[in-house]
Structure formats: C-alpha cells, structure tokens
Amino acid sequence: MIFVEDKNLVVPGDVLADDEYHTGRGTFREGNKICSSLVGLVAVRDKKISVIPLQSKYIPKRGDVVIGEITDIRFSMWNLDINSPYSGILPASDVFGKEKRELNKAFDIGDVLFLRVVDIDEVKKVKLGLKGRGLGKFRGGILIYITPTKVPRLIGKKGSMINMIKDETKCDIIVGQNGVVWVKGEPEMERVAEKVINMIEDQAHTSGLTDRVRNMLYELLGKEIEEEKEDVDEEVPEPDIEE
C-alpha cells in the first residue's frame, strides 16, 4: 500500500507507504510503516520510496567536488568553510608533498578553493584534496550560495541549464556539490547570472523551469524572446508516473 503519489509535498512524520516498499533517502521505517523525515517531494522508483528535500544542509560525501573558503591556518593544514555543519581540512602535505613551506604563502585566510572530498571519518572529520582536473584556487569572481539539494536542478539534464546560463552570460560558472556557485565574467553579467541562479533556487520544485529561465535571461539581456519556442515548450507538462 502506498499513501502518497509521486511529486507530492510531504512534511516530517507523514506516513508514505507500508512494508512492501523500501526506504530511500529522506525516509525511515517505523514498525511496518515508512514515514518521511523531511519537507520535500516524494519520489517513487519501482519499490523504493524517497523524499527529495526542498531545503537542506550539505552533508559531505566522499568524492564530491565542493567550493570552500579558508577560515584558519594551522600548523600543518588549512581549515575550510564548506557551507556545511562540518568544516573541512586540507592537509599541507596534499599541496606541498614532502616539502616544508609556510602555509600562508600558498593559501591565505579568505581564499576560495575548488576541492574534492577525499575522506570522511566516523566523527565527520572532512579531509579535502586538490588532486584532480580543474581543482585549485579561484581568482576573482563572486560566490552564490544555494541549497545543496537544488544543485542538480541548477545543472539540469546533462548540464543543459548551466550551459545555457554560461552561453548567454559568457561567464565562467562552477557549481560545488555543497551548494556554492562561483561565477566570473563581466560584472554586469555576473549580476545577471546571480539573479537567474537565485530564481532557480526559489522555483526549483516547479515545472517548466528551463523555459522561464530562458525567458528571464533574454529579458535581462534585452534580447527578443523567440515566440514559437515559448509557445511549444510552455505546454509540456511534467511527466507523470502512474502507480
């Protein structure tokens, strides 16, 4: 038995289904019932039921790429704020190898870095690393903070949404899994990108978002809206899954 439909909005404590379903993220089992633990939208896939949260804090996961800001320099590591309840550490050995150098010569407090989560231990000590393509320090640009669960929506299917913003504003944009977005381009274009990204965050749970983002971009950039395209795409409903 299932008591909700796909894409229903639920609150903590709502009973979603009984025993025959599996618990996904955002849900828990109590007795023979599956309940929601979050405010979010229900997602049913086969026999697995989960709740996609509308608001969340970033909980680090191994392998994620994140954007962090250096908050402290210690004897052999940097401390970073990664927009999470847990702060991250970047060991000096990861940057210098075996060499001994002064840490503040490489990165100083306030620097913004693009990093990978290398490891997390059981008390959620987050180890970060800089090994990988494109990882390192940002120069210039602005930071925008969004809810981490809305990152997939901002990127879009195969990067469609983010590439559209990149193309239209001619900005470099990098999205961290922790909900921090780095934007660099012309100052006016940075502001346009910021507006659009904030709009996506506000409306991430609604359908037909890509079209509205396109229209907003054209409006902000003073371009003509392509009439035919708007008409065709507006009518496309969210795919409904029959249960």
Binding site: G13, E30, Q55
Partner: protein, 172 residues
Amino acid sequence: MAVIRCRYNMAPFSVGDRKRPGPDRRSVEISKITADALKPAVFLEKFPRSTIDVFIEILEAEGGTRCAGITAASVALADAGIPMRDLVVSCAAGKADGNVVLDLSEDEDKEGEADLPVAIMPRTGEITLLQMDGHLTSEEFDKALDLAVEGCKKINEIQKEAIKNRYGEENG
C-alpha cells in the same frame, strides 16, 4: 550525537508590566523543556559533532507562549531541512472557574486552578512534554490531557498547512 540548544526569551514589552530583560528562572526552565520536547523528534544521531540552535523570542505574551514556542520551533526545524521523526506540537489544557478548558489565556492561567501544557508527536501520540501547575483530580487530569491531545492534533494540521503553503499551491 548532535546537541539541541534552546533559548526562550521574552521581550521587555511582551507583557503588561515591563519585564526586566535577560534570562530569569522561568525562561531558563522553558528553554530547557523546549529543548527536551524537541529532542525525541530529531534524528540527532545523524549529525555527530554538531549543534542545532533554537531561538524563541516572545514579542507579545498572552498565555500559552511555551506551547506556541515548541510548535513554531518544530515547524522551523522542518523548514530548515533537519530530518525529524515527526513534527512536535504543543497545546495546554487546564482548569479555570471550575471547568476543564483548552488553551488557557493569561487571565485563565493566573486566576484558574490548574495549567497543563502538553507536547506530543502526533503520528504516534508520544508525549514529549507534560507539565502541571495547580491542582486537578485524577478524573480532571485525564479529561484535560485528552482535551490537550485533541487540541494538539488540530494545531498539527495548521503546522502542516503552514509548511505546505510556503512552497506554493501547485503541490499543496
């Protein structure tokens, strides 16, 4: 395990006679019972080495502020995306003028015979807060508790509605 810290504070202008600002014996107690009432609902074990802070500022008091504080705090936790077993909802019952009544006002609380604040997790009916001030016979107590639980369930509907309204009608 995460820690829940709570601070309940009344503004000096929230009551008839100006209240001296800062914590007093009453607000320290309410801070503690609010944290205790919310604790069973939150998945604290999911967030080791972290703290959840709850701040309750009372701007206008007319009875029932501790219950309102707990009810609002649990909605705020849900809205912040903190995983919870259930919303916590609170409501007081009591006895005023010889009658068992629900949700006492300030005068009913002061002049009345008893005050019984209750907080529950509505799905399971688990009680997370139960206080009693004054005198009730055991029959009156049972009656008042049932009445308070019933009130809680009504308020729970309003809590859910408040959360859902925040995210527009299309998903309501």
